[in-house]
């Protein structure tokens, strides 16, 4: 079973780049990606990732 990963990154290009890189391996799989932190937080229960890759400079969304 590959380790489940979510990406939280507001730069679409970086996000898709990481997704492609990671999904080329057998060990890891990107199960979801988000551009907004709140969305990622809401779906943690559903995604149940082993690892979250989080952009430090995510935009604040109220």
């Amino acid at each position: 079973m590959p380790k489940k990963i979510i990406l939280v990154e507001d730069n679409v290009d970086v996000c898709l780049g990481y997704k492609m890189l990671i999904n080329m391996t057998n060990e890891y799989e990107v199960v979801n990606y988000y551009h907004i932190g709140d969305e990622a937080l809401k779906n943690l229960n559903k995604d149940m990732p082993d690892i979250a890759l989080v952009d430090i400079d995510l935009l604040w969304v109220l």
């Binding site: 060990e27 890891y28 937080l41 890759l53 989080v54 400079d57 969304v61």
Partner: protein, 146 residues
């Protein structure tokens, strides 16, 4: 929320989820803050595939992908400076001040009079060459004395 706040909230809700921070600038205070918030390591945005997979492998093995410069900052934050000018009692009072305790509660917890606490604080101010509690705390923290 930004990545540091998100890291804090994810770790609060699901402590077992490992978090890797993605950053443009490698050696910054903010990377250190994200590690303090619960991230296990970080990657730079221009990392190549090998570096990305290597970071994931390190996390799975229980490691923390980070540069030596950031690792030094982390170690420094745990290492208290033992070359301080204070007596043991003064150091305890200084610690209590940092925790936000009042003179009265410091006096109670050390079983001494408020005047004795004032005496120690006066000596602490003299040694630090400061005139306020805030300045004393700032200076003590800066020197890793507390």
């Amino acid at each position: 929320m930004n990545g540091i706040e998100l890291t804090r909230r994810i770790k609060l809700a699901f402590p077992k989820i490992e978090i890797i921070i993605i950053t443009i600038f490698e050696n910054s205070e903010r990377v250190f803050d994200s590690l303090s918030a619960g991230a296990s390591g970080y990657l730079t945005k221009n990392a190549n595939q090998l570096e990305v997979i290597d970071a994931l492998d390190q996390i799975v093995k229980g490691g923390s992908p980070m540069s030596p410069a950031i690792a030094r900052m982390v170690v420094g934050s745990f290492k208290k400076n033992n070359t301080n000018p204070f007596t043991d009692k003064e150091l305890s009072v200084l610690d209590a001040l940092v925790q936000g305790k009042s003179y009265k509660s410091i006096a109670l917890s050390f079983d001494v009079s408020i005047d004795a606490v004032r005496f120690h604080i006066k000596n602490i101010y003299l040694k630090l060459q400061v005139n306020s509690k805030e300045d004393a705390i700032t200076k003590a923290k800066k020197n890793n004395w507390v």
